[in-house]
Amino acid sequence: MKPNNFKSLENEQVNKFESKKEHVKSKVDGSIGLIKFIGNIFELYLPQVLGVFGYMSGNPRRNKSSPENTEKKYPNTK
């Protein structure tokens, strides 16, 4: 195997990072957690916000309590 001191230099840097590895990993997890949280918030509320904007711009909302909808929801009940 050919000697390669660039690899030795890399090994030295990898060993140096060992003590900081967990600290950096916790920061990575924190960033990812935050991104996921923001993503979930958007996923949860964005359709409703868009619905409100749609309603405000004149799009008639479906009336959920109308007898027609209730019949469709529970077709086998009286």
């Binding site: 390669n4 890399e10 990575v28």
Partner: protein
């Protein structure tokens, strides 16, 4: 609890034997963070090595590692598998560090001129670089311009092919060959300036 321990032990063993590309595939299929942790354990040290070499600052290198791995996770689905995972990861790491330095310098051309204007007639033997005393290597790598340093790291530390380096730097293979030749010459020139050998 004992069963959990055995399961963790067995799954850990199999994970460590899995290829990077298989781990990426499993992660995308299951979204299980164990797979991402494995990639982090394999490559965080190497990514840090590149960041500290290029950025020359401990805190900036740690922040860069953090941002690179977040970027990797968010873009993992874009990894096509055409290249090795390590090549893909390193290309993101190099480009991230180069962009960071560019933003600080506010001079987009500061890299273009790194490897020009210092012609030495002779071609430099790879052995000269590979067998250099590690302390000297550190000193010289600290002195060479960023463009020279990144191309030498790609060639000799990451052992990337000309084609792979070309893909990272968005250059043709012939341009990369020329850049490598000039980088080696620049390296030798700085070595001579410091050690007079």
């Amino acid at each position: 609890m004992f069963i959990d321990f055995i399961y963790a032990l067995l799954s850990g063993t199999s994970l460590s034997k899995m290829k990077d590309e298989e781990i990426v595939k499993e992660y995308l299929a299951t979204q299980n963070s164990r797979y991402f942790d494995q990639l982090y354990n394999r490559y965080s040290g190497k990514v840090y090595g590149k960041c500290i070499s290029l950025l020359k600052n401990e805190a900036a290198a740690q922040d860069a590692v953090q941002e690179i791995f977040v970027k990797i996770l968010l873009n993992l689905s874009k990894f096509s598998g055409k290249s090795k995972f390590s090549t893909w990861l390193y290309s993101i790491s190099y480009n991230f560090c180069i962009d960071t330095i560019r933003r600080k310098k506010k001079n987009p051309n500061s890299f273009a001129d790194d490897i020009t204007g210092h012609e030495i007639a002779d071609d430099v033997d790879d052995k000269f670089l590979l067998e250099m005393n590690i302390e000297r290597l550190k000193v010289i790598m600290d002195r060479v311009p960023i463009g020279v340093k990144s191309i030498l790291l790609m060639k000799y530390q990451d052992e990337m092919s000309i084609k792979e380096i070309g893909a990272v730097l968005s250059k043709s293979e012939s341009a990369i060959k020329m850049k490598i030749k000039r980088a080696k010459q620049k390296f030798k020139k700085i070595h001579y300036e410091i050690y007079k050998e």
